[in-house]
């Protein structure tokens, strides 16, 4: 994961936002809980201590933004009109898909923005982030 974080930090024109504090993360968890939205997975909460929001080449990973709704994980999830919010937390998006954490299945999913069809499943956050930011993967089934 650290390798990926370094890679993300070095993306061209990566504008860094102050990492999220423990207090901010706890408050966001509470906000999510009060509003019956799935909570932050542990790996993502840990990531926020190092990288808080990523925007690169039309792909976005949410974080905690006390200034605006923009890329703020709680506000963005509140605004989205999604089914199954208690089990699903949207972590980011690109032009076509959402990256979501499915609490019940404890996995990361790529979901079509319009049909909400699950297109890909990942057991770890690193793979899911690589998918969102179009980082090449290795062959899977050949």
């Amino acid at each position: 994961m650290q390798e990926l974080i370094n890679c993300l930090k070095n993306l061209p024109l990566m504008l860094t936002v102050k990492p999220a504090s423990a207090e901010q993360i706890i408050r966001t968890q509470q906000d999510l809980k009060i509003n019956q939205i799935a909570m932050l997975p542990q790996a993502f909460a840990q990531l926020l201590h190092q990288i808080n929001t990523i925007e690169y080449d039309g792909s976005y990973l949410f974080g905690i933004n006390p200034r605006s709704y923009y890329l703020d994980i709680f506000a963005e999830n509140e605004m989205l009109n999604l089914p199954d919010k208690e089990n699903l937390l949207i972590l980011g998006y690109d032009e076509f898909d959402y990256l979501a954490y499915n609490q019940t299945e404890d996995c990361y999913q790529i979901i079509d923005k319009d049909s909400f069809a699950v297109l890909q499943r990942f057991s770890d956050l690193e793979q899911a982030i690589k998918y969102l930011f179009k980082m090449e993967d290795d062959e899977q089934y050949f």
């Binding site: 504008l15 906000d31 080449d57 605006s68 923009y70 709680f74 509140e78 076509f96 049909s115 690589k130």
Partner: protein, 400 residues
Amino acid sequence: MSKKNTPPKEKINIGRDLAYMIVLPMALSALSQKKRRKYKSQSSNIYENLLCLKNSLDNFFITSTKKNSEEYKQQLYRKILVEKLILNIAAGKNSEIKQNLEQIMKDEGLKFVEKEESLISQEEKFLIKTEFHGISHYPSKEQLSAYFQNYIKDGNEKAPSSYTELDYVLDNIPSWKYFKQFASFKKRASIFAKALAEKGLPPQEIQNLNAYDMVAIFKNYNQKHDIPNFETAKSKFIKYFISHHEADYRAYMQENKAVILYALRNKGIELDIKKNHHAYEEFVEKNIILMKSKGCVPPLFNIHHKHPVKDSKTEENLSMANSPKNLCLILECPYHNMLHLFDTNVLGKTIFNRKVKRVELPHGMIFFGGFSRKFQIYRQNENGYSDILAQMINNKQNQK
């Protein structure tokens, strides 16, 4: 900004767009504030900011000095709309906020349209996405056809193949009718055929393959043979945009500096202008270099499909979805978010007749940086065929 074929632009300072950059994200934020504890604790601070903005609206919106002029009346009307929005944000009236946003967008010239729904299949959409983003990942195993899943499971693709590319008629693959609508795939038809041959797929069975199988086979072949990826529609569009409209984009980023700095601040980024006086100019310059060299979408912006991808079933081909005519570089927050806030599917007169409601950007618009015409860029040569022909005849006559 380009002078050719561009709608007339009004003379305006950036005040209006700056006001929108302040208030619209607040409005969108307010839409998401239901039970948030943080919002409650910060509400007095937000209220003070809103009050301050409300009291300054005259400075932001009213530039006309002639109180009876049409221009003045329009500016006053816009100011009142924003004032209403501010009051509703302060009062937390969510449904009114949405209505106010719609009114503002309509007043600023955006069209809301209702159309018959013309949905595309998942495979068609997958190919539009693939052309737009490229193939960084293999499709998931579940997306592969049952036929191909079994073929891999049995290890058939590893056995030596006796087939050559000439043994394959790609038109026998049902999804090829979609692939060949995209120049990026059509041009690589022989690579697809070679990839099929390498995997040893019996030519008489290729009708069982779906679009996901084809992309997986194609990606695997390219990886094995170090064939570079095709250039994505996204990258092509950005390169097209910057090569045709660099001067316009530079002018926008320069004239709109206050708005862009505010947008960065909304995201939690402060450019250290006090320490480095050229920090903003360097930021813009780096953007442009990346746009030109890699076709990267610049920070704060995103690409909007004017005619939505999910409704791309037209008489024309699927690849129109990713054509520069259908794409527009747009400020993500608040404008792109606002456009999609109103996406709805509604029932038509019968249950079989579904309609979609969308915000439609004007034909020819290639860049949306704000509501003022000054901050929008239109495609050059947006004239019809007859105008282009007339221009060519003129040029020839001049040469003579």
